[in-house]
Amino acid sequence: METMTGLTGLFDVFLSAGLLWLAWQALASTDLFRAIVLFISFGLLMALAWARLGAPDIALAEAAIGAGLTGALLLSALARLPRDVPAGDAGCRTAFVVRVLAWLATMGLASTLAWVVFHLQPVAPGPGNAVIEQLEASGVGNPVTAVLLNFRGYDTLLEMAVLLLALLGVWSLGVEAEQQVTGADPVLDGLARLLLPLLILVAAYLLWVGAHAPGGAFQAGSVLGAAGVLLLLAGWRLRAAMSSAWMRAVLVAGPAAFVAMAVTTLLIEGRLLEFPQAQAGMLIFVLEACATLSIGATLAALYLGGIPQAEDDA
């Protein structure tokens, strides 16, 4: 990226400043609801920053997961916090000395880091060129998808395990998912019915397009997850479906497909996750399709927050 000039340079300066300002406002706000809303706006600005940095894949992931689903999780957690729990007054109860020391320590760290980052001189070039050179052999045309699913697919295998593990952790608290108390709102219900097919279509599109353009399993999965959240919000009785053994199978489909693919490639090619070049594109697509389903289901289940129980009155 060349040196900043003109209007875009000004835009970058405003955007960076805006990021810092929003983060500070979100963290310093005395009202928790306000803090979360500001944090969501912060996430959206982050998505804009990713677009400016030439990283549209991250921009999509950030908008869908970082701002959207994290925001939904935060708001739903806030709604479930008992009313009588004190909101805390943005750190004012922390002793003044502690705050001063913390401020000095973190600002010292940040200044040192800023100096290091500013003076960073690469000793050796990264493997960025190798990604482009080997792109042909990876089976997909989008470099980021190639790294995520092929060159560093093993990271993604473990990452799928992390996502499933978060759900296992939430369920290990032994809390049952709450009964839906509010009656379904007709407008929300209508919106859900209208958007559901569209969201599924968008997810399928993102999954498909990820092979050669920005998109992929994580973006598609988070759109599916958002569809799940919307249905839960609209009061659809998903909990019975989510408590079934089928649901568990869908939840593990992504990581299980990765493990199965790892074993298969090991048996056939002799190496973990080494795809035969001719079939690489197809195999990666199968992996991504399974991952998309799992990610969507897991994110929706995380939003539900507790262990889904079969409905008593169903």
Binding site: V187, L188, G190, L191, L194
Partner: protein
């Protein structure tokens, strides 16, 4: 050239509506008037920006996508405005009277 000028004009007009909507959000006295300012202005503002951008599009597919974005935002805006106002009425939030 003419399309470029049109794009700038339409986008600027859109921005003006956004600005008006934001001002309304900040300055209007109660939930309902704020919603009024926000949804009306944003829908039209976004529509103008989308129209401006559509003039720059290379293909009809992109124009279609832009239109879809506009429609979806209007749909979401209208629904959410409805939800917010219904909740505000349920909670008995005061309606502003002159």
């Amino acid at each position: 050239m003419l399309t470029d000028v049109l794009t700038v004009v339409l986008s600027l007009a859109g921005c003006a509506f956004f600005l008006a909507g934001t001002l309304g959000l900040l300055r209007f006295p109660d939930v309902f008037t704020r919603l009024h300012a926000l949804t009306k202005a944003d829908n039209l503002g976004l529509g103008l920006v989308v129209a401006g951008l559509a003039l720059q599009a290379d293909s009809w597919a992109i124009v279609g996508k832009l239109l879809l974005i506009w429609l979806l935002v209007m749909l979401a805006g209208a629904s959410v405005a409805n939800l917010v106002s219904r909740r505000a009425l349920d909670k008995g939030l005061p309606v502003w009277k002159r």
